[in-house]
Symmetry: C2
């Protein structure tokens, strides 16, 4: 028996996160299930950008010190840390996910070289068929450092590929299509048991707990513009466990990563802790939007966000059950919520057409080639009634292409 609209209204009524929706400036007549690609704008994001514009106008160069623009990477890193289950000084917000991945993979490789100079560990292992910036960046690293070998292998052969020649394992926490999550703690332990360091890439920060400290993760990176709602191309984050920071070397060693950037010394000396992973001058307006967006998370608990996101995806799957039973749609994501990230995906031969029709009909999701429909379940602004209405429209469009 299907869930009724009234039942969804009741759940919204009881939802402790319901009030978060007011923080967002959502476009009317749209059910936005694409916050896993680009989160919507919050009122605070807009206000912070306006404020930075005023500061640029009035304070000019003095803004860097008087308005603390220069500290943005540390300040936002510390704000983000609780969502990652990390300590404030273990996180900085800087550059893009791809660049941070490169920085930390290089740091791991350099520390393996330093530990084992006989080239004992010179391989990086990563997964094939996941979001491709990971293998692309690692291959770039390998083009420059020819002593490093990058092994891009299927999920099934990951463990076999991890040998005593492996320095680093790089994994994306939730699969970008299926949403299937790795057991972060278990994979981290497995890597460590073989003397391998691990770097997690998380597209689902803000909706999926990472518990980095608890899982003893070495390195992590992730993005600011999806579930964190930091704006298009928002700065990304990087995490390095505190005991690894002193020995971590940054290859992208720009002037702002120097111990004393404003001394303009000829000789490079790494900044304290994660400061060394800063590179060029931070884009202040982009940081401002993320700053505003992160204010919404203050006082919230990542486990509560996860709980609601899972309830929303559970509801969507349940409401689409008739279509699934007719085999009109196939569920690509794991049916078990514990194995599913912040989004849920379905396969359909006409996926691209359906997604375009849905957009016309006021439901926005993502098409991913060759035939996937992907829906993001952000707990901050989505209501249970939105999922109810979306499911109805999805069913209608799936029926329409079959007709």
């Amino acid at each position: 028996m299907l869930v009724s609209f009234e039942h969804c209204q009741e759940r919204d009524h009881l939802d402790p996160l319901a009030g978060c929706r007011d923080a967002f400036d959502l476009p009317p007549n749209q059910i936005y299930l694409d916050g896993n690609s680009l989160g919507p704008m919050t009122h605070r994001a807009r206000a912070q950008v306006q404020q930075r514009l005023q500061e640029w106008q009035a304070d000019l160069i003095a803004g860097w010190s008087h308005r603390q623009w220069i500290d943005y990477p540390q300040r936002l890193g510390a704000k983000l840390a609780p969502l990652l289950g990390a300590k404030p000084h273990e996180v900085q917000v800087v550059d893009s996910t791809s660049l941070n991945l490169f920085k930390l993979a290089c740091a791991a490789v350099l520390s393996a070289r330093a530990r084992e100079p006989a080239r004992a560990r010179y391989r990086i292992v990563t997964e094939q068929g996941n979001f491709p910036t990971v293998p692309y960046m690692l291959e770039g690293l390998g083009r420059l450092a020819t002593d490093i070998q990058v092994d891009v292998v299927s999920r099934e052969t990951l463990c076999a590929a991890m040998t005593d020649e492996t320095a680093l394992l790089v994994l994306t926490h939730a699969h970008y299509v299926s949403g299937e999550v790795f057991d972060l703690k278990e994979m981290t332990s497995k890597a460590h048991a073989q003397g391998i360091q691990i770097l997690w890439e998380s597209h689902s920060t803000g909706v999926l707990p990472l518990n980095l400290t608890q899982a003893n993760v070495d390195f992590a990176v992730g993005c600011g513009y999806k579930y964190l709602n930091g704006g298009p191309g928002a700065p990304a984050f990087l995490y390095v466990r505190e005991d690894l920071q002193a020995a971590s070397s940054s290859v992208l060693s720009g002037w702002l990563g120097h111990r004393e950037p404003f001394a303009f010394e000829d000789a490079y000396a790494p900044g304290e802790g994660l400061d060394r992973f800063r590179c060029g001058t931070p884009p202040v307006l982009a940081y401002a939007a993320l700053e505003g967006a992160l204010e919404i998370f203050e006082g919230l608990n990542i486990d509560d966000l996860r709980k609601k996101s899972l309830a929303l995806s559970e509801l969507l799957i349940k409401l689409l059950e008739p279509a699934l039973q007719k085999r009109a749609l196939t569920l690509v994501s794991p049916r078990d919520g514990a194995l599913r990230g912040g989004h849920v995906s379905f396969a359909h031969p006409d996926a691209q057409r359906i997604m375009a029709a849905l957009a016309q009909d006021g439901v926005v999701g993502d098409y991913r080639p060759p035939h996937f429909l992907r829906f993001g379940l952000s707990p901050l602004y989505l209501r249970y009634v939105d999922i109810w209405a979306a499911a109805e429209k999805i069913t209608r469009q799936v029926d329409a292409v079959a007709a």
Copy 2:
């Protein structure tokens, strides 16, 4: 005989660029001689940021395609190209100066490896004592690629350091303290004559002509937030001469640099031309400010900007002549305008104190250690009367510390 205030008024009256000042939202009661560190806000920069905020609010994910956010690197690169004396497809706006420097230095190194696999050319030469992000980034490259040697040498020994083992020469066009400019064309020819590629870093884009095509330059990078007024931490640019693009490989090979980023292919394939040097998702709000700022340059000629900037620095030096003659101040920049970039620097034992006092007195410049006063002469918003008033205040503060 000193130049009179009335004479300066007359020059402003006759100045064909005088109207450009109206494009800026300048704070009152301030003479801003620090546009070489952070350019001031234009009305168009603010308007473009506001517009992007509206698009983010209303269009959400569709903004990437419908509003062409995704094309920002190419679009702004093409707008910038005339100021560099380059072709539109030879320039893209992306990431930071430091990162672009890394990308292009790697491209040069990889192409040298490919051309001469016997490790014939494995050295990168750069100048000591110039803006240090250049040696820092190159040293980072050398930490990862241990077959590459970086030689950081004094300006006097640059030519001696260029040998048949050198793959790349990396130079900053105008010295960040003295403002002394290299003869870009001559140094480029000198490098080429020895089979060495050249990468120019330009802090003075927007005020100093580079004539990249005419000088047959291989690679260049530079910054968007100084004389281009793109906002704090604005995206930077990179230039690769068209005939070198196809063979140039990007080591920072993120997903947006792929030939078909939205096909999410497992195998990396470089994007067309300079597209391959894109990496992560572009920070749209930061691009917006630069976009607005670049609108001001439309219809202007870089040679006219250079001419006025030189006239302003010439005037400043002339008005400070009495202080220079008393040896209260020393001119650090070349006296010959042809050898001087967009700023002019003076030395004084109490430079830091003087610069702080000047800021209180409404004249903003930069202090650079150990004892330099640096003033940027941006031709777009500075008037001759501003220089007159600034010179009077500088003289007064120099006299005050002597008293």
